[in-house]
Symmetry: C2
Subunit: 178 residues, 2 copies
DNA sequence: GGGGACATGTAAGTGGTTACATGATTGC
DNA sequence: GCAATCATGTAACCACTTACATGTCCCC
């Protein structure tokens, strides 16, 4: 989208928790952070180089087995400052949520369009599946009340995602009933 | 984002309603379709050229005053086919909603982080404003029950947007109360 | 007369995707 | 042995943004 560049912040944020390799970061995007952000590994490695060039992270070499070298990155003072300064800042730009399904609905003017039912049913199937997945994640990541306090931000996000998806499903159900 | 290219579909969809100039399309993105999709005029003009090159739209010249030429585009049979084929298709890719605020929350681990309250308050202000705006739009675009049937898809989208925004505001309120 | 809307483009830069590329390691 | 995972990168392409650019029309 050539949008506001937030990937550096995510990488700094993740590396700030503990030193990581590019591959570790890739894994992070496949699990928890992948629920609300996506990026390809090629982009991660490019951005890491850039951050290192800026002196916001620094690398050390580790090994996987005897021959495979892996590069650990840790955050520097400069990187910490950038991260903190971002966390302290406000942004009044609300993201526009580009949803292909919603777009199709827009062009289906009539309530009686024969395509409407199939489209709704398919979306209902997809969204219900997503909702179940999110609920499973919640159970897995926060199995009890105390665990929520360990990473309150993450708990809030999952909670929010579940409510949003639930709303989506409810909305689709209501339309299907009509 | 170099994402799935949906702009051609939007342009075809809008031109399919009635013939339009690039400027008309730009205006559409500033009003109703702008609630859930954004694009710059430079991109619109580029995409129009491409669509015309493909033979999916065709242009005729009109005038604004005596000297300013404007180019009207109307959809061709080929363009209609592409549009219909898209409307008939399914996509099982759910968009990842990239929300900067949510990202910040993720990196604020602690419930007691002093930045949390300000961040929440600011987001609450923004989201409430957006919600009010959407409610106003709904009143304006669909002033009565009958009008909903004229463009059922658009009604559904606005309804959905309001519910989603309402959920966002409720969620923020709950956190602020804690 | 001037400012905002009307109207249409080009050019440079960048974030992101897709595809290509390579090789070791681990567990079955 | 072989498949999946670990691990890191480059290159081509593309959608999109930002900035630059130009000129008319209409109303106050």
């Amino acid at each position: 989208m050539a949008q506001k560049n937030l990937l550096p912040m995510i990488l700094l944020g993740l590396i700030n928790i503990e030193k990581k390799t590019g591959y570790d970061l890739k894994k992070d995007f496949e699990t928890e952070i992948g629920e609300f952000w996506s990026v390809k590994h090629s982009q991660i490695y490019l951005e890491l180089k850039r951050l290192e060039g800026n002196g916001e992270i620094k690398s050390t070499t580790g090994f996987y087995g005897n021959k495979i070298e892996k590069t650990y990155y840790e955050i520097t003072k400069k990187g910490k400052e950038r991260l903190e300064s971002w966390l302290d800042s406000y942004s009044d730009i609300l993201n526009v949520n580009k949803d292909e399904f919603v777009l199709k609905l827009y062009f289906i003017k009539s309530r009686k369009d024969p395509r409407l039912q199939d489209l709704l049913q398919e979306q209902y199937r997809l969204r219900s599946k997503k909702l179940e997945h999110l609920k499973e994640r919640m159970k897995f990541v926060f199995p009890n009340k105390e665990s929520k306090n360990d990473n309150f931000g993450h708990y809030l996000i999952l909670d929010h995602a579940i409510r949003r998806e639930q709303e989506y499903v409810n909305w689709l159900e209501e339309i299907l009933e009509k």
